[in-house]
Symmetry: C2
Subunit: 386 residues, 2 copies
């Protein structure tokens, strides 16, 4: 396989954008990424876009064609991919394989979701389609409830506390305060989280990522051509993807996401590294407990010690491993189809030392970890300077 | 790029399956394809699945994970692709590129749609998401209306008649009568079509493809390993995909689908052939006028002469070019996410001389043509014996 590098990266401001449509968001991120890459629109040979539930959020399918159309990129091939909240990452992986195959030299990868045009109830139902519709959502199990089950089990088995989970949110808001694109830039305390009211016990409002409108885009280039366009291309050194049962009831364990472990193994092997070689990561903190599961399953901390690590400050900026430098899903926001691509944009900026006040020092390998549903899909990428 | 071959192919019976869920349909087609390929489940390294609007049809997104789960294929990567009614073909193309890249040697590609769990009105709205939601569907333009506009313009500019369009449906029902998997196996006459009542003038009921439940699957293998599993592997000799404006109002012409022409050009070039070298094709006849546009835009007949060719019998089985040997979308049925894969299954069976009473004689190159929306996406593949 050919090596593939990222030569441009951009995101839209994440937030509640009543005045912007999905089209506006993708044009904003897409055009900025093209400019950042130093290519021209005509150099782009194909588009891969991630969107989770545009059919339910805005009544629009066929998002690939919509993106090509509104970016003025017809007639190039433009394709939508979907894997629930991991849609952005599977789009990246498809773009990566398309360039690696030799079919294309330069492709654009985007992720987008416009979530605020429906009520919170409708959004919960749309998002519930990421789990098992027949055996979970239909029975009333929305996503806060599913992750609350995972949290309960982790607390029971390892003594993880609500305060430890809260520490993830506090740290992510701290990082988000340094990110101009983040939905929430306010700092919060453990007390704020503890007093924020139960959504699904033990998860409280400030354990939960928000509803967000946003888009992100990167430009991929064949590795041997990347330096023609970009002084500091970022190589996709490893790409892993794995599946697990869509319903929690079928899982062997509720204290790990086995798809995360498998996807990480693939990505580490391809990149020729282990978890110890990763200095910073964007992980999938749709709920605070998800971040704890992730930092354990990715191998950064021993199983059962993720909560303690978070509480002890071992995941803050420039600690053992800087987790969710962008602010994560919690503070940067979680436009579900865009998140996987946004994680990669953050990795590119960190590796190019463009991350300003949240810059990680001495960074060599940056990892992105994106989960669909309650862990039925996990995608892991390892990035480093080409 | 490595060569890629198809070593197994299967479809479920197409029709209204009140007793079967989407899960049942994909398991039916998927397991039959694995058996046909002579591989074992553990040999499959990844899955690519096409589904258009499962979020609206059955409240379920994350179809990739669902497929892997219900086929017992965890933890391999499983990814959904969507391009409206061309979802199956973009899934095939993604699987093709993944094997061509060298990442995988054997992958499964599926397409599936379960359309009968909602009312006809809800289905029309779900399908309307294939066009421009803001500028077409929201204004009341459902798909029969959009294709009626294309038909009107073709009639105006080239003198195409309703009887000529009807000839496409008559021929497709004739072919479908020979296909045990087809939704409709009854033969019809031009008078039947003419008397079937307007849906959106000039299109009548029997000009329109039906609402269908169904699934289709193929197994792809690296070309140099295909003969280990299959005596008669079928090579994907050309693959093309192109985009056009999602709304009809933005098109330069209403008498051609420019995305079809561009995708065909790519596929012909890669396969080293021209339209003259194609003896049989599955083309996207969501409405009868769409078949006329297709056989012109693919280069089988001169622009404006597609209606006459259909009327003169130049597209029937074992004529100049055998069109829609399976019965097409009209008679075989149109489970939107499955159609693109079903077209390829028909191509494989024809090239392997397994098509029984509808076998094309002297077949060398088989073409599949799948359209998303009113032509915003078109995907063309050229198949031949490896």
């Amino acid at each position: 396989m050919r090596k593939v590098s990222i030569i441009g990266a951009a995101i839209s401001k994440f937030g509640e954008h009543w005045e912007k449509s999905l089209r506006d968001l993708i044009v904003e991120a897409g055009t900025k990424a093209v400019v950042d890459a130093g290519v021209e629109g005509k150099d782009i040979q194909a588009i891969y876009g991630g969107t989770m539930a545009s059919g339910r959020f805005i009544g629009q399918e066929h998002i690939g064609a919509l993106i090509a159309d509104h970016l003025g990129m017809n007639p190039i091939a433009s394709t939508r991919l979907e894997a629930a909240c991991a849609s952005g990452s599977v789009a990246l992986r498809a773009g990566y394989l398309a360039v690696a195959s030799g079919m294309y030299d330069i492709v654009a990868v985007g992720g987008v979701e416009k979530m605020t045009e429906v009520s919170t109830e409708e959004a919960a139902i749309a998002l519930g389609g990421a789990g098992d519709q027949e055996w979970e959502l239909f029975m009333g199990a929305t996503f806060p409830a599913l992750y609350a089950l995972l949290a309960r089990r982790h607390m029971e088995q390892f003594g993880t506390t609500e305060e430890q989970m809260a520490a993830c949110s506090v740290k992510n808001h701290d990082n988000g305060s340094k990110n101009e694109y983040a939905q929430f830039r306010n700092k919060i305390t453990v007390d704020d989280v503890m007093n924020s009211g139960y959504i699904s016990e033990p998860l409280k409002l400030l354990d939960c990522s928000p509803i967000t409108d946003g888009a992100a885009a990167v430009i991929l280039c064949a590795g041997d051509k990347a330096k023609k366009f970009c002084d500091a291309p970022v190589e996709i050194a490893g790409s892993g993807q794995a599946s697990d049962s869509i319903a929690l009831a079928q899982r062997k364990s509720l204290t790990e996401l086995s798809a995360t472990k498998e996807a990480a193994k693939q990505a580490y092997t391809q990149a020729g590294i282990t978890a110890k070689d990763v200095q910073a990561a964007e992980v999938h903190d749709c709920f605070s407990i998800a971040e704890i599961l992730a930092i354990e399953d990715l191998g950064f901390f021993k199983k059962g010690y993720g909560g303690k690590a978070a509480e002890d400050g071992e995941t803050v900026l420039n600690s053992q491993v800087s987790i969710n430098t962008s602010g994560g899903l919690k503070a940067c926001g979680h436009p579900v189809g865009a998140t996987g691509v946004k994680q990669v944009v953050e990795g590119v900026w960190q590796l190019q030392e463009k991350a300003g006040a949240r810059q990680v020092v001495g960074l060599k390998n940056f990892l992105t970890h994106n989960v669909g549903g309650s862990g039925a899909t996990a995608v892991v990428h390892v990035l480093r300077r080409a």
